[in-house]
Symmetry: C2
């Protein structure tokens, strides 16, 4: 396992475990968390820790896929929350010390397919 | 550039160029395209080609980030369409011959942030 793979694996494991000390140790001081869908940005380890600690609880994360190359990683998680399963797509960059420096995260929601492609698709 | 990096780069370039011959050559016969948000699945090269060819045109794709490892890749695209810019998160798997065998794609949409975290976030 490369260092980035281990870091990203530990990052999600610490979050799922609500192990805030372990989670905080993986973050750069100046970590930036981007949520492009809401145009929100959280800057700095303390704010990002608080964001996660204060987030309404009850969620559980499973890593469905992780791809890592050098200091870059992308993960696809499944987030179970209130009887639903939502996908989460995250792009993570590590700094030179191997700490998580930038996270850009997407929370795609279900929607109805547009008409006109029924002849090509299966629904599941 | 690894083979998977080159393949994924060529995949998006061919799609952006509407070069259907080049795009088709990168696909496994039994390629499967998954859209978990709509629970749609498209199976086979011919159907997946037609899906892309028939998709209402006017879109332009830019690769914002690509992460590749072995036969796995993840990309974050920016899709410009009708004056909007939408992110696209895709997870691609290549087969043993280096052809694209599975693509799982997410199209996250903008939404309003829930209240209660204004003290931690910046909007942009």
């Amino acid at each position: 396992m490369t260092s980035a793979e281990a870091t990203v694996s530990a990052y999600w494991a610490a979050l799922e475990a609500r192990d805030w000390a372990a989670f905080g140790r993986l973050l750069a001081d100046d970590v930036v968390y981007h949520l492009p869908q809401t145009r929100e940005r959280i800057v700095g380890r303390e704010s990002f820790l608080r964001f996660n600690q204060e987030y309404p609880d009850g969620w559980h994360l499973t890593v469905t896929r992780a791809v890592t190359s050098g200091r870059h990683a992308a993960t696809w998680l499944t987030c179970a929350h209130q009887g639903e399963e939502l996908p989460v797509a995250s792009f993570l960059d590590l700094d030179e010390a191997g700490l998580v420096r930038e996270v850009t995260e997407f929370w795609p929601e279900p929607y109805e397919p547009p008409p006109g492609r029924e002849h090509l698709v299966e629904r599941y």
